[in-house]
């Protein structure tokens, strides 16, 4: 008993995240119930839609890919005190740039796909340098600047697709990218593609960078205490610029991977808000690359599972948005949940865990 308690206490952050998600599901269940539907049955459809068979699993995983890469983008920034809410815009620019490389060039596969991913990443990274510079050298709050910079990116890509790149057919999109620039499909009939390996590399990269390198240590120090970092010779400004750039690059990469693995072209408005969802994914994953795998899987499942649930139980698809919103709310109320959690675990009133001693 004492042991489980200790274990629960030690990993309280993780359990709080899980609790937040569970609570969100319960609230949604109550909502379904109160509108005359059977929440247990609905949940069953949800699970089978997301994980019921290999096809569904493959589809779920394909949804995880962009979410996870983008979540890592957010994490790398946040660890270094950079809150990049502009992932959506960077992702769009990355996708468009990579599509142009993909259809515009003729190269052997060994060079074409990597080049395409690289340019996509670079586009996102370069775009992120604008708010990075504003933050670091002009003290402009990056949350505001990055949110606003999502709009130019959105309209710019829209404009390019409609007016500059050749239109093939009626859908606003670029031409298809060459075969040499595509990820192979891993599961015919689903959208699962070899980009999953790139995704795993990205997770490993982030974990490795943050935990195993001097640079990552410095970035985390900047994220936790800029003054101390400066005092100990860490170039705070440079590290924040770099974190912003890396974050933008990964956002761009997320877009490029979607193009190379799913759409094979830049499809106008292809992103259902991956950039925004990624922030929730990162938060639920406790800003931890490994944690993000789990939360990205959850959010990927939300996207696929809800489809089946909607079809079989006549629940409007808007519910996905609602569930997303509810999870965000519960995650935001995390410290409240955490206190409640600790109270239960310790069997009495808890102390706020963040208190400093003197």
């Amino acid at each position: 008993m004492g042991k489980t308690r200790k274990y629960l206490e030690k990993n309280q952050a993780a359990f709080t995240s899980i609790l937040a998600v569970l609570l969100a599901f319960i609230v949604v269940g109550v909502l379904l119930f109160s509108t005359g539907r059977n929440p247990i049955e609905a949940f069953g459809y949800f699970m089978s839609g997301a994980f019921g068979n290999t096809y569904n699993i493959a589809n779920t995983v394909s949804r995880v890919i962009p979410l996870l890469i983008a979540a890592i983008a957010f994490i790398i920034g946040a660890k270094c005190s950079v809150f990049n809410v502009g992932i959506e815009g960077q992702l769009l620019l990355g996708a468009l740039t990579s599509a142009v490389i993909g259809f515009g060039l003729d190269l052997p596969p060994v060079a074409h796909l990597p080049l395409m991913l690289l340019t996509g990443a670079l586009a996102g990274g370069l775009y992120a340098l604008i708010p990075a510079w504003l933050k670091v050298y002009r003290k402009v709050n990056e949350i505001l600047s990055t949110i606003m910079l999502n709009y130019p990116a959105f309209f710019f890509t829209h404009y390019i697709v409609l007016n500059v790149t050749p239109l093939e057919g009626v859908i606003p999109a670029t031409p298809f990218i060459k075969e040499s620039a595509r990820f192979i499909n891993l599961f015919p009939g689903t959208r699962l593609h070899a980009g999953i390996f790139v995704t795993l590399l990205v997770v490993l990269f982030a974990y490795f960078l943050l935990q195993k390198t001097s640079l990552g240590y410095e970035m985390r120090a900047v994220g936790l205490n800029k003054e101390a970092a400066r005092f100990h010779g860490i170039p705070v400004e440079k590290r924040m610029m770099l974190a912003f750039f890396m974050s933008g690059c990964l956002a761009g990469l997320a877009g490029a991977v979607e193009v190379a693995g799913v759409h094979y072209r830049y499809l106008d408005q292809f992103s259902p808000g991956y950039g925004y969802d990624s922030i929730t994914v990162a938060m639920v994953g406790l800003l931890n690359p490994i944690g993000a795998i789990f939360s990205a899987t959850l959010f990927g499942a939300l996207k696929t599972g809800i489809l089946d649930m909607a079809v079989f139980t006549a629940i409007p698809r808007q519910l996905v948005t609602l569930i997303n919103g509810i999870v965000v709310l519960f995650v935001a109320a995390k410290s409240m949940i955490q206190n409640g959690f600790l109270r239960v675990v310790k069997g009495k009133q808890s102390d706020a865990p963040e208190k400093e001693t003197a």
Partner: protein, 509 residues
């Protein structure tokens, strides 16, 4: 005499740490009751429990001989308890009066802030206890000592009868401490009760009526001031005799290591001159003490020496090599170690764990890093060594530093800097918040480093510490070095005068 506060059988555990172990304490009304004990003995924890910040695992609290449950600070305030934390909780951009009234503002016609009443009431309390604070000045403009009085005022405004002061003098200059003691005595004369924590036994003997000694989470004894002495208290605290010793004189003074020539600097904000032609040299094997009242340029001097403060003029050299324009990291790699003045802001990343803090600033140096990759094994073994050697009380090396007691946090910094500075150690308030045994230990370490041929620059607000450790003493006043004297050729009185700006004829022009 009536008992205002009694805590009975208080036990508090943090994971594996037993911070309070069946603590009993009884505080009489209208007295000054001190608590002393080693770093990590559980003093702050006990006070936090009394103020409702922590909750005891077991035990009872009685106020005026009635059992109460203090579940949060507002319950404590209702019971007439006020706590002045070591880190003030004031809002810098607001005035003193606004800070004092925050949450209980007087209103006009229900909705409007009554500014006159606000200032009037603040002024009245300030007058009553002669706190000498101006209700209308902004908190950001006032000194640490006065901020502390604002905290006291805040507690008094909330009708506190029992005031808890947790190491109130750690941040104060000796002069400010004297002022504080006068205020505390006036409060006592007015019937208030004071719970006072300090590591400075001299202060304890000066102002307490009664002293409770804690060790390892337990109360060892509670004694009347008149029946005890500094030596006896020290023995109770540590469990053995502590010699109040003097440091041996410098053995072999060698070549010049750190040299500052005509350093001048301006403040960023108002272009006020903060350093003015500061020159000195520190030789191998000596401790140069910099004495001065807080705010006379010490902070800027240290920042200048490690490359964080822009100089308008001057040159810094280390072993004859010009290092004036090096970056912080290069300065430190060139051989300067610094114990900074504010441990929570500059010295530590409190949300890192112990081992991560033991190589802060050395994250690119061997053996911790090779080709940009961290060697966590080397980090851990070094951390284990420092913990052992410096007696850092922590459950393990992956414990977050923010959960350690103040003194143990300070030990991490001292350990790190002393062990990795090849040439020069700049020590700013190195023993702030340390208990007597730890203070002794750090003093010994600094002397050892000196005798290893390092140059030690010591900045301290405590003249005693300066007198104890220094080979030579420089006095800084308004950004200028007004005098540099040999320790043996001066007295505390002379130094005190110079620190206030009085000069002597034998000072070179």
């Amino acid at each position: 005499m009536a008992t205002i506060l009694e805590m009975r059988g208080i036990t508090k555990r943090f994971g594996d740490v037993l911070a309070n172990d069946r603590v009993n304490i009884k505080v009489e009304k209208g007295t000054i009751h001190s608590i002393v004990g080693e770093n990590g003995a559980g003093k702050t924890t006990l006070m936090n429990i009394c103020y409702g910040l922590y909750h005891a695992d077991s035990g009872e609290i009685f106020i005026n001989e009635e059992e109460v449950e203090i579940k949060d600070p507002s319950a404590a305030i209702k019971n007439g308890i006020g706590m002045i934390h070591q880190h003030f909780k004031l809002i810098p951009a607001m005035t003193v009066a606004e800070n004092v009234m925050l949450g209980n503002e007087p209103r006009k016609n229900r909705f409007f802030l009554d500014i006159d009443e606000l200032n009037g009431q603040t002024h009245q309390i300030s007058e009553q206890y002669r706190l000498a604070v101006d209700p209308e000045s902004l908190v950001e403009d006032i000194s640490v000592g006065i901020r502390q009085r604002v905290e006291i005022l805040k507690a008094l405004y909330r009708k506190a009868n029992l005031l808890i002061l947790d190491e109130p003098t750690a941040l104060l200059t000796p002069q400010e401490s004297e002022d504080l003691f006068r205020i505390i005595n006036r409060l006592k004369a007015d019937g208030k009760t004071i719970l006072f924590i300090s590591h400075k036994l001299k202060e304890i003997m000066q102002i307490s009526d009664r002293v409770t000694v804690m060790r390892d989470g337990k109360v060892v004894d509670t004694v009347e001031k008149k029946d005890t002495s500094e030596v006896k208290l020290a023995r109770l605290m540590v469990g053995r005799d502590v010699l109040l010793k003097t440091a041996p004189p410098s053995k072999k003074i060698g070549e010049v290591i750190l040299k500052a020539e005509n350093l001048s600097a301006e403040s960023e904000l108002h272009h006020r001159q903060v350093l003015n032609n500061v020159s000195f040299e520190v030789r191998s094997g000596e401790v140069l003490g910099i004495a001065g009242i807080d705010g006379n340029g010490q902070t800027e001097l240290v920042r200048a020496l490690i490359g964080l403060q822009k100089l308008t003029k001057g040159k810094i050299s280390l072993r004859g090599k010009d290092i004036t324009h090096l970056h912080v990291k290069e300065m430190r790699d060139a051989g300067i170690g610094v114990i900074p003045e504010d441990r929570l802001v500059e010295g530590l990343v409190v949300n890192f764990d112990v081992q991560e803090n033991t190589f802060l600033g050395l994250q690119r140096n061997k053996p911790f890093s090779k080709n940009g990759l961290l060697d966590w094994k080397a980090v851990a073994s070094n951390a284990e060594q420092l913990v052992e050697k410096f007696d850092i009380r922590t459950p393990n090396i992956t414990h977050p530093v923010r959960l350690l007691s103040g003194g143990n946090q300070q030990k991490i910094i001292v350990a790190r800097e002393i062990f990795h500075a090849p040439d020069t150690i700049i020590a700013t308030q190195p023993t702030r918040g340390l208990d007597i045994a730890a203070t002794d230990f750090v003093h010994d370490e600094l002397i050892k480093q000196r005798d290893l041929g390092k140059a030690v620059l010591l900045l301290s607000l405590s003249l005693e510490e300066i007198m104890l450790l220094s080979t030579r003493i420089a006095v800084i006043y308004k950004g200028e070095i007004v005098s540099i004297v040999n320790k043996d050729e001066t007295t505390a009185e002379d130094l005190g005068l110079m620190m206030l700006g009085g000069t002597y004829e034998h000072i070179p022009a």
